[in-house]
């Protein structure tokens, strides 16, 4: 890829990011997914923990934020191609010099980044309303973990979006995929509390490694080396997702051109 093309693609990601945020500001469903639902989860968790809430406050804040990230990924990023088809822009997008993967990457980056607001809101809820002590033990590693979590989630979004386009039946399982991932990834409580046979399932989920790194860095319970290993695994997952997504996008574009399903008739 030459430098001009790289610059043009970065510009596309930037425009897609900004335009997506502009559109999402007034979207009721998105407001619920990234603001209301994670807040409800954080509230429930803080009340349920009762006298132990103080010692687990940061865990709850990070965990509820992760629920917002995952829901946003599943419902908003997952539908990112289908939405373009529904509004009639997909046909224009695929017949342009920019690769559709680049455009969807920019859009998913906006969806996932905006859902970080849920983590911020949970932070304010716990510290101001519940007056709980909140400190991030390893801020540098926490920020790095957050950044790599966003990349991993955006990359995962690049896999599920074309799958949802090619297999509308799979999209029907969206709702069923929401809570099991919260639980199996240890967003709100450690997976050690789950039956042993579920552990291998957690290990193959990128959100588990993201949650492990974020919880470890925020609470200080994991050593820096252990967090770096988690992040290494997260990078590996992101790379694999991006490689798979390139093939999936190619297959999706071919299939939609053969089946005439790029646009709604």
């Amino acid at each position: 890829m030459n430098l001009d093309r790289l610059r043009a693609n970065i510009r596309v990601v930037g425009y897609a990011f900004v335009m997506t945020l502009k559109q999402n500001v007034i979207d009721g469903f998105i407001i619920f997914t990234i603001l209301i639902q994670p807040l409800i989860i954080a509230l429930l968790a803080l009340w349920m923990m009762d006298d132990q809430a103080a010692s687990h406050a940061i865990f709850i804040v990070v965990g509820s934020g992760l629920t917002g990230l995952w829901s946003s990924l599943l419902f908003i990023s997952g539908n990112s191609i289908n939405v373009e088809r529904w509004i009639g822009t997909l046909e224009f997008m695929v017949a342009m010099p920019t690769s559709i993967t680049t455009i969807i990457f920019g859009k998913n980056l906006a969806h996932v980044s905006q859902s970080l607001i849920s983590m911020l809101l949970s932070y304010f809820l716990a510290s101001i309303i519940f007056d709980l002590p909140l400190t991030i033990a390893r801020p540098g590693l926490f920020l790095l973990s957050l950044l790599l979590t966003i990349v991993a989630f955006v990359s995962f979004g690049l896999i599920i979006a074309p799958i949802f386009v090619m297999n509308p039946g799979v999209q029907g399982w969206q709702n069923a995929m929401e809570f099991p991932v919260y639980i199996l990834s240890g967003f709100l409580f450690p997976i050690a509390l789950l039956p042993g046979w579920t552990t291998p399932v957690s290990y193959v989920l990128a959100p588990y490694w993201a949650a492990k790194a974020l919880h470890g860095a925020s609470s200080g319970e994991s050593s820096p080396d252990s967090i770096l290993i988690d992040l290494g695994i997260l990078i590996m997952f992101s790379t694999v997702y991006i490689l798979i997504s390139r093939r999936l996008f190619k297959a999706m574009l071919h299939k939609t051109r053969v089946d005439a399903t790029l646009g709604l008739q």
């Binding site: 510009r11 425009y15 502009k22 920019t98």
Partner: protein, 325 residues
């Protein structure tokens, strides 16, 4: 270079649809059976035909959105299947209707975003967007959200979008569909201006006066095949031997229509609906001499005005598509 911007040879496209719920059967629908034509560089070519004739399917294959089942098509010398990416940066296209825009964004935001997807440099795109907004008559309205635009404004914004990267070839698929007469006239003016810029344009429409007014050559497509291809004047000559009897009627039924079609002195019969009123268009080689017999066939119906006139391009089209227009 052949001098042709678009070359289509024996293009065919079949859709697979399924019927039934429990016993599902795959059914093949031939949207385009055998289409061949060539458009010269800088030409404004019209493709006309009734709904479902294969116009949009043809355009979608030429714009690389659909893979043909058989045949070949080349745009600017590139094959639409094998060399799609070489075509995409050099063509623009719009489809009828006002979908395909981000309604929550302003017109300018839409254009900026699409310009970035076409890899237009930001400095160039700023000037180009100002120019295009002026070209399509949206100067001063670009900052408004698209959701507040009229249908005609959205169509004009689509034209601006399709021109952001200054394409050499433009595909306009029924651009005036659903527009009010004033909006449609303004859009035709924009198309004429584009022709003046020497762009190659493929326009599909089922409004014959539009094709007559704008196009240098017209291809008539019906049931997925080109049934005639000539200049508007050439096509009109095919009906020079006919006269057209226009009769306003109220509530005509199929029995009367079939009886008219069975008459030996009638060539084709078509019907236009205008709310309560309908207009019968009867082509006859006998002109006003056929009128008494036609009136007799229509006896018992509530009739309005009757006119006998010379044929137009629309009449040529009606004859070519067998009264299906």
């Amino acid at each position: 270079m052949t001098g042709y911007a678009i070359e289509v040879e024996h293009l065919k496209r079949t859709y697979k649809t399924t019927v039934g719920v429990l016993r599902r059967k795959v059914k093949n629908v031939e949207a385009v059976r055998d289409v061949s034509f060539a458009i010269q560089t800088g030409e404004l070519f019209g493709l006309v035909g009734p709904n479902g004739a294969g116009k949009t399917t043809t355009v979608k294959m030429l714009t690389t959105l659909l893979i043909p089942t058989a045949g070949t098509a080349r745009v600017l010398g590139y094959d639409v299947v094998q060399e799609a990416s070489s075509i995409q940066a050099r063509i623009g296209f719009i489809f009828g209707g006002d979908r395909g825009l981000y309604w929550r964004l302003s017109g300018i935001d839409n254009l900026r975003y699409f310009a970035s997807l076409y890899h237009v440099d930001p400095d160039v795109s700023r000037k180009r967007i100002d120019y295009l907004l002026e070209l399509v008559g949206l100067t001063g309205r670009g900052e408004e959200r698209v959701e507040g635009y009229s249908r005609g404004m959205r169509q004009r914004l689509h034209i601006a979008r399709s021109l952001l990267h200054n394409p050499e070839v433009l595909f306009l698929d029924e651009p005036t569909i659903g527009l009010d007469p004033v909006g449609a006239r303004e859009l035709r003016l924009v198309i004429r201006n584009l022709q003046a810029e020497e762009k190659t344009i493929l326009l599909t429409t089922h409004y014959m006066f539009e094709a007559d007014e704008l196009c240098q050559r017209v291809g008539v497509i019906n049931h997925g095949e080109i049934t005639a291809l000539d200049t508007p004047q050439g096509l009109k000559k095919t009906v020079r031997d006919l006269s057209v009897i226009e009769i306003n009627v109220f509530g005509i039924d199929n029995e009367h229509l079939d009886a008219l079609r069975d008459r030996a002195d009638v060539d084709t019969v078509s019907l236009r609906e205008h709310g309560q009123k309908q207009t019968l268009l009867i082509h006859s080689p006998h002109g006003s001499e056929a009128l008494p017999g036609v009136m007799e066939t229509l006896s018992g119906l509530h009739l309005g005005g009757v006119t006998v006139r010379e044929p137009t391009l629309e009449d040529a089209y009606v004859r070519l598509v067998g009264g299906e227009a």
